[in-house]
């Protein structure tokens, strides 16, 4: 170890786990450093809805006891991890950033959370989000906004904005989020961190509050591609989860091929996407630079076409609200959730509990879903949207006959200001590059590319791949990171927050 104090800002997850295993520092020291960083930084960022200091120190003490007893430690031993607040963790509330679930105590622990804990991770808290994951800015949280660590007057993206901001601010080494239409990749892009939406079914959703059941997928954020790979190893290590019927067995090692060369491999580029209306010049330039970095390493760019993804937003805003309406019907104010007091009938109690428990966007999505599923309307929108889904999936299948991965933007532009996108349907366009992948069920990753030439804010590229080729996505993401990140070692903590607390004693 160096003699200068070591900061969690500069340590990767692997370095933290290795340091704990070697006795360079204890898991308890790491937990205290992370809690110190949160205490010093989060008043500015407000990434967390709840900091679980007691759970963190307990988990860290258990890790230290295991080491003292000579037991083997997990691959994430002592690594500070934050969880989106739609994931149940016993000992914390799970609010989905909604008044509806303001006091909801997690009755059990989600499989994805448990697997991170089983790998030795230290749970530092639950992160802010758009209410029930409806949004792209975290502004629809019922409790408070979250600031972008790179510019406190701007949003972190969403819906997993708190998880992305916590990692970008150095308040956690890894965070988990969920992605239904871009809710991991878009905030990762706006906050300058790596965010992976794995293939649908790769990570268990048991214990994660459902939004769109045919679209939702859990995935990790990190400042380095390697950290995301380590988190994926932990998430899939237990194999298929019998408690989530959509869970699939996945090849377990995301690290083995991380540094494989990309020489001779083919990267698809979709010309229509690179010319899409709303895509800013600096993001387009950054994505082009990522393509050149891959070419410099011997990859070949090939043009591919995805003709039907222009209709992806329309298909999504049929399918997702219908599934949301169905899933959120469970919030009737009886078994859990806000209950309107003093009502004479159940119907009245239900409709007022829902009226006062849900925020505006949650009501909008459910109203839209209720309408689209109603008799007569179903045949006009819902069934055709599922047919368009077939066409989009077929477009991808054809494209992947010609290339290994597809390179495109993750978000059309850099972080926007609070209140800037006040019209809900305008906000929906934030996910124009991410949504089609949820519709097809494929994996995608947002890779940070430093700061944009015009805005000085984080820009990124997205890599998409065929189903269950998520390890391949990380190989290409790592190749971009090697070429374009400082020292080739990943994204930095946002400079306004770096160095405030977080030092290992």
């Amino acid at each position: 170890m160096a003699t200068a104090p070591t900061s969690l800002d500069t340590l990767s997850a692997r370095q933290v786990a290795a340091g704990v295993a070697a006795g360079d520092f204890t898991a308890t020291e790491v937990a205290r450093a992370a809690l110190d960083a949160i205490e010093r930084r989060d008043p500015e960022v407000r990434a967390f809805l709840q900091v679980s200091a007691d759970l963190a120190l307990e988990a860290a003490a258990a890790t230290d006891a295991r080491r003292a007893a000579g037991e083997a430690l997990g691959p994430l031993a002592g690594v500070p991890v934050a969880f989106k607040d739609n994931m149940n963790l016993v000992g914390t509330r799970t609010t989905c950033a909604s008044r509806m679930l303001e006091g909801y105590e997690s009755p059990y622990t989600a499989t994805c959370v448990q697997r991170m804990l089983d790998a030795g991770a230290t749970p530092v808290g639950k992160t802010n989000m758009d209410e029930f994951a409806f949004g792209s800015s975290t502004e629809s949280s019922a409790f408070h906004p979250t600031a972008n660590p790179w510019d406190a007057s701007r949003v972190p993206g969403g819906s997993s904005g708190g998880s992305a901001a916590a990692v970008a601010a150095g308040e956690a080494t890894i965070a988990l989020g969920s992605d239904t239409g871009g809710s991991i990749r878009q905030p990762a892009s706006l906050c300058g961190v790596v965010g992976l939406k794995p293939t649908y079914g790769a990570v268990s959703r048991y214990g994660v509050v459902a939004f769109g059941s045919s679209l939702d997928q859990v995935g990790p954020f990190g400042r380095r591609v390697e950290d995301v790979a380590l988190a994926m190893n932990a998430l899939v290590a237990g194999g298929r989860d019998p408690w989530d019927s959509t869970s699939q067995a996945v090849a377990p090692d995301f690290l083995a091929h991380l540094d494989d060369p990309v020489e001779g491999r083919r990267v698809g580029v979709v010309p229509a996407l690179m010319e899409a209306a709303g895509l800013s010049d600096e993001v387009r330039d950054a994505v082009a630079a990522a393509g050149r970095a891959l070419v410099d390493q011997g990859a070949e760019l090939v043009e591919v076409d995805l003709p039907n993804i222009a209709s992806a937003i329309a298909a999504y805003y049929v399918i997702a609200p219908c599934e949301a309406f169905s899933n959120l019907a469970r919030f009737d104010g009886v078994r859990y959730g806000y209950q309107e007091p003093g009502r004479a009938t159940l119907a009245e109690q239900t409709s007022l509990s829902r009226a006062h428990g849900f925020g505006e966007e949650a009501k909008r999505r459910q109203m839209l879903g209720a309408y689209l599923l109603s008799s007569g309307v179903y045949d006009t929108y819902y069934y055709p949207a599922q047919q368009v889904r077939t066409l989009i999936t077929a477009d991808y299948a054809r494209a992947y006959e010609q290339c290994d991965v597809i390179l495109m933007p993750a978000a059309p532009r850099t972080a926007f200001r609070f209140g800037e996108l006040s019209d809900p349907t305008q906000m929906y366009a934030s996910d124009m590059f991410t949504i089609s992948n949820n519709i097809a069920g494929n994996g995608g990753v947002s890779v940070p590319l430093g700061l944009g030439a015009t805005s000085g804010l984080p820009v990124s590229a997205q890599l998409q791949g065929p189903a269950f080729a998520d390890a391949r996505l990380l190989t290409f993401a790592r190749a971009i990171e090697r070429a374009l990140s400082p020292d080739g070692e990943g994204a930095p903590v946002a400079p306004a927050l770096a160095g405030k607390g977080g030092e290992l004693a």
Binding site: G333, Y336, T345, A347, E348, T350, S351, Y383, G441
Partner: protein, 105 residues
């Protein structure tokens, strides 16, 4: 034809979300904007295209063994009732389902 306020009030009733008159106005404007966004779906010739309801194509009706899981996933009574707004003994407590008028509204 755009949705009217009356249409939207009917949907709110079905969705069990009580809306104030101001909310009803805003919701009606939103619903019509959102439906405009969906227009591309109506422009397709989808003759002969099979629907995809789920990204894992061959997965349907996953069944578990017909065995009660009393050891792991069954919540203890106190955990199951802890988050309820109103409970009594072993039960969730609800107001009258039928109300004074006898109907279900």
């Amino acid at each position: 034809m755009p949705l009217t306020k009356e249409d939207v009030a009917g949907i709110a009733d079905y969705a069990r979300i009580a809306l104030t008159p101001e909310e009803l106005d805003e919701m009606t404007a939103y619903m019509n904007d959102a439906i405009d966004l969906l227009e591309p779906i109506r422009q397709y010739d989808l003759e002969g295209v099979e629907p995809t309801f789920h990204p894992i194509g061959d997965l349907s009706n996953v069944m578990a063994g017909d065995v009660p899981d009393t050891s792991v996933r069954a919540l203890p009574l106190d955990a199951a009732l802890r988050n309820a707004g109103s409970s009594r003994d072993r039960c969730f407590r609800v107001p009258s389902i039928l109300g004074d008028q006898g109907g279900d509204r």
